[in-house]
């Protein structure tokens, strides 16, 4: 018996030794291209103005206005290309001021923008609080503060910032700023009616503002359980800006929630380089057993492993969704959704935690979301469905 046991254990471990290397990031094979003209990497074309500006900054490193300009360009590139290297570049450009308790206001704003992008919400919030004390009429700072405060569940502060810009920006910007706050307070119907009136009254106008308002309108419609209206608003928004990743993701979510996963998959096809698109397309393909399922699932696993390797905790939402829908591992999904809820408290995060708790059959784990829903009075079609399945009475 003992001998048999030893043989079995040895056999199993040998099997593990053969399988394990796939999970171990071994050094990849090297190669040398045959011809010198082979292109091995593409990089942004060199911008002579930027080269000149960097040279000036190197010559006079104390020139903060120059550093701010360069960093702002990189943050903008990050926004367009979704490439986090530009965030790191912006931070490096501001290194001289980065660790100061009271950097110049422009640096403060950029620092907060970068911090929130890597989910350092507490740091971002502290910087923005300081900034709006210095410049209460800085609409951009107030809007950013409203968003960061909403993400972390500080609705009073968010409301205060939305109201502070009332005389400075158009009514539609203020309404769009306040809409999610009203919705979370259980007044999605009123918020929807108000914003819809404003959006249809303002034909034309800034397409960026309009797109943002349409996305918010879609969120509200979705909360009210009106998926068709939500999809229509999002399609209108995407017609204005096809590169709006947030609107595209939301549309994919709406489609998947209404059983139109194949449509969601084609909506995201070819856009897999962006993590949040990849995870949704992997789930959609998984649900319809599509042709790309295996490839996308493997790619998503690889991204999760790569993020874990460098200690990133930025993609918890994506990871939890993936664990829930594709890996069919509700225990893991629940663990990640709880960690995520510790960091950010948007409606999407509440939905995720409640859904994971339902799947894992762990009502206790949903307690923070239940408390949040009771405290805010939020009504949301998806969240309410999960809470009903957890037998939560409200």
């Amino acid at each position: 018996m003992l001998a048999l046991g030893a043989v079995g254990l040895a056999g199993a471990l040998t099997a593990a030794a053969f399988v394990a290397p796939e999970r171990v990031a071994a050094a990849a094979a090297t190669y040398v291209p045959s011809r010198p003209e082979v292109v091995v990497a593409t990089v942004p074309t060199r911008d002579p103005d930027e080269v000149a500006a960097r040279r000036s900054l190197a010559a006079a490193p104390e020139r903060v206005e120059l550093a701010v300009e360069l960093a702002r360009d990189d943050v903008e590139r990050y926004r367009v290309l979704s490439d986090p290297r530009y965030l790191g570049r912006a931070q490096a450009t501001l290194a001289r001021w980065w660790k100061l308790a009271e950097p110049p206001p422009d640096v403060l704003f950029l620092r907060a923008t970068i911090e929130q992008a890597v989910h350092e919400f507490a740091e971002a919030r502290a910087d923005l609080d300081r900034l709006v004390r210095l410049r209460p009429e800085d609409a951009q700072a107030q809007l950013t503060r409203a968003v960061v405060a909403t993400v972390t569940g500080d609705y009073a502060a968010a409301r205060q910032s939305c109201r502070a810009i009332a005389g400075l920006v158009s009514a539609i910007v203020v309404a769009t700023c306040e809409a999610p706050l009203d919705a979370i307070a259980g007044k999605a119907d009123e918020a929807y009616a108000r914003l819809a009136t404003l959006v249809s009254a303002t034909r034309g106008g800034d397409p960026g503002v309009r797109g943002w308002a349409l996305t918010e309108l879609a969120e509200l419609a979705y909360m009210r359980g009106d998926s068709d209206a939500a999809a229509a608003h999002l399609r209108a928004g995407l017609a204005l800006d096809g590169e709006d990743a947030y609107a595209r993701n939301l549309l994919a979510d709406v489609l998947m929630a209404t059983g139109r996963s194949a449509e969601a998959s084609s909506l995201l096809a070819g856009r897999e380089p962006i993590d949040s698109h990849l995870v949704r397309r992997a789930i959609a393909e998984h649900e319809v057993h599509g042709r790309d399922e295996a490839r996308l699932v493997a790619a998503m696993r690889e991204r999760i492993a790569a993020a874990a390797e460098r200690g990133d905790r930025v993609h918890l939402r994506e990871e939890a969704r993936f664990a829930l829908a594709v890996e069919l591992d509700p225990a893991r999904a629940l663990r990640i959704a709880r960690d995520n809820w510790g960091m950010q408290k948007e409606l999407a995060d509440a939905r995720l935690l409640a859904e994971a708790a339902v799947a894992a059959g762990d009502r206790e784990a949903a307690a923070p979301v239940i408390a949040w829903a009771r405290a805010t009075g939020v009504r949301d079609a998806m969240l309410d469905r999960s809470l009903a399945r957890l037998e939560v009475t409200r």
Partner: protein
Amino acid sequence: MMRAGWLAVAACLLVAAPAWAHKPSDAHLRLDAEGDALTGRLDVAVRDLDGAIGLDGDGNGEITWGELSASAPRIAEYVAQRLAIRADGTPCTERLGSGALTELSDGAYWALPVSARCTHEPRSIEIAYSLLFDIDSMHRGLAHVAGQTVIVRDARPVRVALDDATSFWSFVKEGVWHIWMGTDHILFLLCLILPAVFQRRVQRWSAADSLRDVCREVFEIVTAFTLAHSITLVVSAVGLVTLPSRFVETAIALSVVAAALNNLLRTVDARWAVAFALGLLHGFGFSSVLIDLGLPSRELIGALLGFNLGVELGQAAIVVALLPVLFWIRRTMAYQALLWAGSGAVAIIAMLWSFERFAA
């Protein structure tokens, strides 16, 4: 005041969860130690090197192999200035080999062989790595040394102990702990062991005469259980087979019911076979614990061995403590009460667990 366009754009950027189209910048330094020598490779993204020292000679946005290979001496110089390895505080002499390309999931990397000769066989090494941080604050150096990965976040040196055996023992400890805390595994084992001091002779049951026979039977049961859960622990921890946790947990509870009922109904005499068949289920349960602990991909085998060893030690301790007592009381009413009432109670409790876990 800023334009409203930039305003709304900024807000949209903020509302969106980070939609990262690329991995952030990582470089990988792999080193293996043998004697007083370290050998390995440094992989740095070609586009990062372009940012650091400028590889795109004609500035057209395309880096050709010709441009890259012509820059090889400058790359080597850049790395040599920014990478230093020390063995227990004493500098090692580094040598960089000739670079080539390697393809990682996010594009082409320059793979540069790195070797270092130290004055002695290092017990720990310090890596001073300061590539790229000055141009990308979110760059990370990932040093993979002797089965460990250390994340280098800034130019401060990091230390890697080469004789680090703590992780193995921590997994052993977790294994022991899990068996002792995991009521279902203990009850399963107890149900199988309880009747061992009582043996079937021809058609009737009576107390066993020799402790040796009892020990042999218990040994068979424990070995079968070990073998079975080791197999499933391994196949599931490495990802060969994955089962939904609700199914596994329910099945484990049912296995306890089965083991308890077997004591009452005496259906199967060969309890080692029961231990084996149902033990397969328990291995899946162990593996989810192990995965929860954060299974190190690089020391998978060590972690599995350690955890499994811990589980065995934990159950051996229980058996060693219990068996003499059972043998001592085997002819008493107390034993009969324990066997019948105990098994009955376990069957009921485990049945409740099954419902609870299934309904969950």
